[in-house]
Symmetry: C2
Subunit: 399 residues, 2 copies
C-alpha cells in the first residue's frame, strides 16, 4: 500500500472543524449545540450580494480571467482608496477565499525548508498551508496579560534564522482579537527591512474593531511597498463565508507576476461569486456601523459572562470576533469533546475550538479555548449558562 | 528588495493564457480573434444549473462542510454508480475545480523533492502545481504517430527512480485527445503495483469520446483501490468552467483522511456553485448525446480542414476536445504571437496555445500547437481559413 507523503501525514486536523462529527452526534441525540467554534457569523449577508446570484443569467457559465474579474479588482481598489490606501486594480489578484491568497503569498516568499515567523497563538491554518508547502512556522509567544500585543523586538529577533523569509500575522487577530497599533505595525515594518523579511498581513477583519481601536494596514507603511503582501476576503467583511472570494494585494511587481502565474495554473476564481463580491464592495462604509455595534454588544456580553464564571480568565478583545479564554480544566481538548459527548444543560451544550491547535509550541494552549462570538446575545447567554454548568460538572476540572 | 522564492520564480506561465494580453490588443484594433487556445466550450450550460444560482435564497451565505455539501457528494457517488463504478459519498471530496483536486492529490502523494511521471505532451498545469509543491515532473515521451497512446512498459519503467511516487495522466487527454484503452489503463495499474506508485488519473473529459472509443476509469482497475486518486470536475462535463467545482475520488482511506485535513485548512468550496453542480449531476446520461455529436462534428471539421493545409500534420483525436497539431513553422511560440500581433485575414485571426508549454523536455513541441475545438463548425472553418492564410504569409515558415 502506498505511503502518504510526510507532509500529508503531518497535516494538522483543524481545531476549528475536527469536532464537527461529535457535534453532529450530539444534535442527533436532540441536544442543541451553540456553535462558538467557528467564525461563521449569523449577521445577514447584504441582500445586494444575494441578489447578484439571483440575477445571474448567461448561456455559458464560462471561465473568467485568472486574476479575477476586472470589475471586482477595480471595486477592491476603490474600496482601499476609500480607506486612504492607494492600490491599483493590477495589484489585486482575486483568489478562492483568503485561504488561497495565503497559499499564494507563502509560496511566493518561501521555498521548501524556509520559515515564517508567527505570533502565537495564531490562525491555525497558517500551519496547514505552510505544511502543504513544506514551510516551517516558528512561533513567537504573545501573552494574554498583554492582551496578545506584540512582544519586544528582542524576542522577535531572537527567532530570526538563516531560513526565515517573513512574518505572517493577522490584525485584527484571529484567534486573539488583538488589533496592533500603528506603532506595532511600524515595528514589524522596521524588523522586515532590517532582516530582509516579507510581511504577510492577514487583514480580513479590518472593519471589526471596538472601543476606538483602529486597523492600521501594512499597506500604509512607508518604505515597505516591496515587502508587504496583504491577505483579504469578503467572508467576514460581508458575512459571506460561502462565497469563497479573497485576494492578495501587494505593490511588489515580482510578487504580482508570480501570483498571476499561480492564478493561471488554477485557471480562475468562481464567476458568479465574484459578481456577488462586487455588490459587497460597492456598499457604503456606513454598512459596517450597525454590524460593529452588534459585535461590540456580543463581545461585552460574552466577556462579562465569562468573567462571572469561577476560574475562567478572559481579557477584553479589541477586534475581530474571537477571544482566547483560559478555562479551569486539565485539558481543553478533552473538555471540548466531553461537552459534546457527555454533557448537556437543559438540552443544550457548547462547541468551542480547543486552544492547542492555535499554537506550534508543544503543550501550549492546553487550558485555553478559542470562542467566536458570532451568535446573538440571548444565544450567547444560553451558551454561557451551559459552559458554566459544564465546568462545574466536568471531572477534569482544575483550580 | 526581498527575493521571490525559487519555486515562484520558476513557476511557468500558462501556455493557454499567456497570450491573453496580445489577443486583447488585437481585439482593441478591431480584429476578431477565434479563441482556440482554451478549453472554454461554447456549449450551453444546462439551464438547471443556471437556475440553481437564480433560485438561491438565504439570509446568510454560510460556510459549507469542508469536504463539500453532503448532497453533492452523494450526487457524485450516484453518478459514478450509474457508470458501474462503486463509489461511496465519503470517498468524494469536493474541491475548487479539478485544479485544487490535483493539488491535494499531488500533496498527498509527494514530498518536496519527490517526482511524478507524466506522458508528454501533458496538461501544462501539472507542471505548475508540481512546481508550487516542490515536486518534479519527469516526462515520458508519447508520439503523434501513435496518436499519443502509451509507449511500451520499458520506456515507462526506464524513468522510474528512487523518488518517483506516482504517474499523473489524463484520459481522455488534454492536450492530445488520446483515450487510453482498458488494456493501457491496466498496464498502468500493473506498473503502479510493481513499483509502488500512485495513479493520479485526471478523468474530467470522461464523456467526451468519439467513434466508439470508451473511457475506462482507473477506479475500475482490480487490485488498485489503494493506489488510485481520480480527479474530476463539472467544468467540461457540464460546460460550467466558471463554477469551479471539482473533486477527488479515492478508495484509499489514508489519502481520504489527508485530503479531508487539506480541505479543513481552506475551509470549504463555494456554496452556491455546489448547489449548481448538484443540478448538473442529476441530469440524465442522455444529456451528453447531442453534446458528443456536436464535438464529433467539430473534430471532423477541424481535422479535415487542417489536413487540407500544406505542411500541417494532424491525427484524429479520440476524445476530449483538443488536438496537438504540427505546423510548418520555425517556432510555434513566435507564430502564435505573430498571428495575434501582426496578422489578420479578412479582419480575423486565431489564438492557439503553443505546444512547448505542454512539454517538460527542453525544445520539444516547438513546431506544435494545441488547438481546442470549442467553437461551432462555421466559426472553426473561418478560423481554419485564417490559419491557412497566416501560415502562407508567416516569415518563419519552414517546410
Amino acid at each position: 500500500m502506498p505511503k502518504l507523503s510526510e507532509r500529508a501525514a503531518r497535516m494538522p486536523a483543524s481545531p476549528i472543524r475536527k469536532l464537527v462529527p461529535f457535534a453532529d452526534a450530539a444534535r442527533a441525540r436532540g441536544v442543541h449545540v451553540h456553535q462558538l467554534n467557528i467564525g461563521q457569523p449569523d449577521v445577514e449577508t447584504p441582500r445586494a450580494m444575494i441578489e447578484a446570484y439571483r440575477s445571474f443569467d448567461a448561456k455559458v457559465l464560462a471561465y473568467g480571467p485568472s486574476a479575477g474579474l476586472p470589475e471586482l479588482r477595480q471595486a477592491i481598489a476603490r474600496y482601499y482608496g476609500r480607506l486612504g490606501i492607494a492600490v491599483q486594480a493590477e495589484q489585486v489578484h482575486v483568489t478562492n477565499g483568503g485561504s488561497e491568497a495565503l497559499q499564494f503569498a507563502i509560496a511566493s516568499v518561501c521555498d521548501p525548508g524556509d520559515e515564517l515567523l508567527a505570533f502565537e497563538p495564531f490562525y491555525a491554518n497558517y500551519n496547514g498551508f505552510a505544511q502543504i508547502l513544506g514551510v516551517g512556522v516558528r512561533p513567537i509567544p504573545s501573552r494574554a496579560e498583554d492582551h496578545f500585543h506584540l512582544p519586544p523586538d528582542e524576542v522577535i529577533e531572537a527567532q530570526v534564522g538563516p531560513r526565515t523569509r517573513g512574518i505572517v500575522f493577522s490584525s485584527p487577530s484571529n484567534p486573539t482579537g488583538v488589533v496592533y497599533r500603528q506603532d506595532e505595525i511600524e515595528r514589524l515594518g522596521a524588523l522586515a527591512r532590517k532582516h530582509d523579511l516579507v510581511l504577510i498581513a492577514d487583514e480580513v477583519y479590518r472593519e471589526f474593531t471596538y472601543d476606538g481601536a483602529h486597523s492600521f494596514s501594512a499597506l500604509q507603511l512607508s518604505g515597505c511597498d516591496d515587502r508587504v503582501i496583504v491577505i483579504d476576503s469578503v467572508s467576514k467583511r460581508f458575512s459571506a463565508c460561502g462565497a469563497r472570494v479573497g485576494c492578495t494585494v501587494t505593490r511588489n511587481a515580482d510578487f504580482n507576476s508570480a501570483i498571476l502565474r499561480m492564478c493561471f495554473a488554477r485557471l480562475c476564481p468562481a464567476t458568479v461569486d465574484q459578481q456577488a463580491a462586487i455588490a459587497g464592495y460597492e456598499l457604503p462604509a456606513s454598512y459596517f456601523d450597525p454590524v460593529v455595534a452588534e459585535y461590540t454588544a456580543r463581545r461585552d456580553a460574552l466577556i462579562a459572562g465569562l468573567r462571572a464564571i469561577p476560574g475562567v480568565g478572559a481579557y477584553l478583545p479589541e477586534g475581530a470576533f474571537y477571544a482566547i479564554v483560559h478555562l479551569p480544566v486539565d485539558d481543553a481538548d478533552a473538555f471540548c469533546l466531553w461537552m459534546l459527548q457527555e454533557f448537556q444543560h437543559q438540552g443544550e451544550t457548547v462547541m468551542m475550538a480547543p486552544g492547542s491547535g492555535f499554537y506550534a509550541t508543544p503543550g501550549a494552549g492546553r487550558t485555553e479555548v478559542r470562542i467566536a462570538y458570532v451568535l446573538e446575545v440571548p444565544a450567547l447567554e444560553r451558551a454561557l449558562a451551559a459552559l458554566r454548568a459544564g465546568l462545574a460538572a466536568y471531572p477534569g476540572r482544575r483550580g
